[in-house]
Amino acid sequence: MSTLVFLEHHGDELLKGSLGVLAKAATLGGGDVAGVVVGSGVRTLADGAGKFGAAKVYVADDAQLEAPLPQPRVDVIARLVRDTGIDTILFGNSVLTADVAAGLAARLDAGINWDLVDLVQEDGKLVGKRPALQDSVYVDVGWTSEPRIALFRSGSFDPNETGGSAEVEDVAVELEDFSSAARMVDQAHEESEGPSIEDAPVIVAGGRGLGGPENFTLVEELAKALGGAVGATRAVVDAGWYPYATQVGQTGKTVAPKLYIACGISGAIQHKVGMQSSGVIVAINKDTNAPIFEFSDLGVVGDVHEVVPKLTELVKQRKSS
């Protein structure tokens, strides 16, 4: 087995998610684990990957690769895979890597399994573990040919700093015309400032079920009564109801407060990965089938407009008594 891990970076850091996948790859045994770093001015990042388990790091360092867009990365990796005979390519999920992995699958006619939370060797076969249908079933999935491509759910593995150093090898960069057609005009712009929620002991989060931005006062008041902070889903952040800084989930913050109260939040996987390590999870949702109930300690099937103000009152009364 010869495995390649896509090492995603932001600024001058390799992302924890891809280093976690590298650590996982190292445990699969039976062959080399290499990493690939793609960008502009990224050589020093390649050196750093050796400490996390890569025996070899391929580097595609080119000004055309500056912006984190997927299609040029497909070109680079497809060529690398063809030239080296790498049989397994692993990605930690992100907005960027999902598109790289799927583009690569088409380019190489390679099988892709996504949203995996684990990968194991069973009877000489690689088997991916894939939660499905709101995580109510775990599916064992595999590949019928090589190369195989796997995309792991965010936060599935922790990096393992083993020390060591990697052999660094440059790879050629030759891009397809269509791959450079999309252009980054403005990158990673942090919309508005907002409070930091990562250290809050309690988070009361609101979703689209609140019905409108004005109803965020409901969660703000409960958060205040509990001495906590307010969180939000991408749906309400993208809609401009609440600041990006408060967003919890894959493209927001990862939080682990003692208490997380989800109000009018469906519990999408991308939200779940940002809050599943919370101590106690309480959910209020009017839909009895909402996925959030699958991972709540206490679920209330009810209307946030009814339940939340009453709860705020009870908490306030307790404080004043």
Binding site: A182, Y244, E306, V307
Partner: protein
């Protein structure tokens, strides 16, 4: 402007996996994947903003996916093409993207839109595979799209903030579920949908080779279905007017208030 929207029929209500075939059970009434309604809505807005054009729906699925397509036609799309073929059953991403790309080639649309994910399989990467096959630029997670001067400008959220990306037409764009509020079909729309063209094509119509479709054309497989790790002590109640008190008592017991 010609806009193609790729849509999927998903099972109505709760989905389940058939333990025998290990495929998603597609019995029961078919619904339009909710995330695709955002793409249809955005297509209609783009068409309106340019003042002319056509919105074409494309889908790969069983014959009864026509029902789901009719729902999108009722929203205002102009016509629909369904790729329906027994030989396509069990297609994974590699096979599905191939067939869809073949159908899209026939249409030569200026913009090809996708929804954020499939509500049944949680697939959220198909567009990038289709774009690669069509050799077109792709932008995903669009929270805002503007069209001017033969270009689309897309704003989207990533792990680090908001990107603004420009792509020349033709282009493939996958929209986020926050991009718009899909319209409800009007009664007139629902009636009108019945007379809109709904074409069904087979794999051979599209010149999709037999070994590139269905299980033969797929590169992944399902081995087994297992129960998820159990979650200890999880409790769920219906609000009978007293739920706030139940939550409060629960928090008090855990010493969280």
């Amino acid at each position: 402007m010609k806009i193609a929207v790729c849509v999927k029929q998903v099972p109505e209500g709760d989905s389940r996996i058939d333990p025998g075939t290990k495929r998603l059970d597609r019995g029961g009434e078919g619904a339009l994947n909710a995330f695709d309604a955002n793409a249809v809505e955005e297509a209609l807005r783009l068409k309106d903003s340019t003042g002319e054009g056509e919105v074409v729906l494309l889908s790969l699925g069983p014959a009864k996916a026509q029902d789901a397509l009719r729902k999108a036609l009722a929203m205002g799309a102009d016509r629909a093409v369904l790729i329906s073929d027994d030989a396509a059953a069990g297609s994974d991403l590699v096979a599905t993207s191939y067939a869809l790309a073949k159908a899209l080639e026939r249409e030569s649309a200026d913009v090809i839109l996708f929804g954020q994910q499939a509500g049944d399989s949680d697939g959220a990467v198909l567009w990038a595979a289709v774009a690669d096959r069509l050799r077109l630029p792709v932008v995903s997670q669009a929270a805002e799209i503007t069209h001017a001067g033969g270009k689309l400008t897309v704003k989207r959220q990533t792990e680090f903030g908001y990107d603004v990306i420009e792509a020349p037409l033709p282009a493939v764009v996958a929209v986020s579920d926050a991009i718009n509020e899909p319209r409800y079909p009007s009664l007139k729309g629902i009636m009108g949908a019945k007379s809109k063209p709904q074409e069904t094509v087979t794999l051979s119509d599209l010149r999709v080779e037999a070994d590139r479709a269905g299980e033969q054309g797929s590169r992944t497989e399902v081995y087994a279905l297992n129960d998820p790790p159990a979650r200890a002590d999880s409790k769920k109640i219906d609000d009978d007017g007293n739920a706030a008190q139940v939550i409060f008592d629960f928090l008090a017991e855990k010493r969280l208030v």
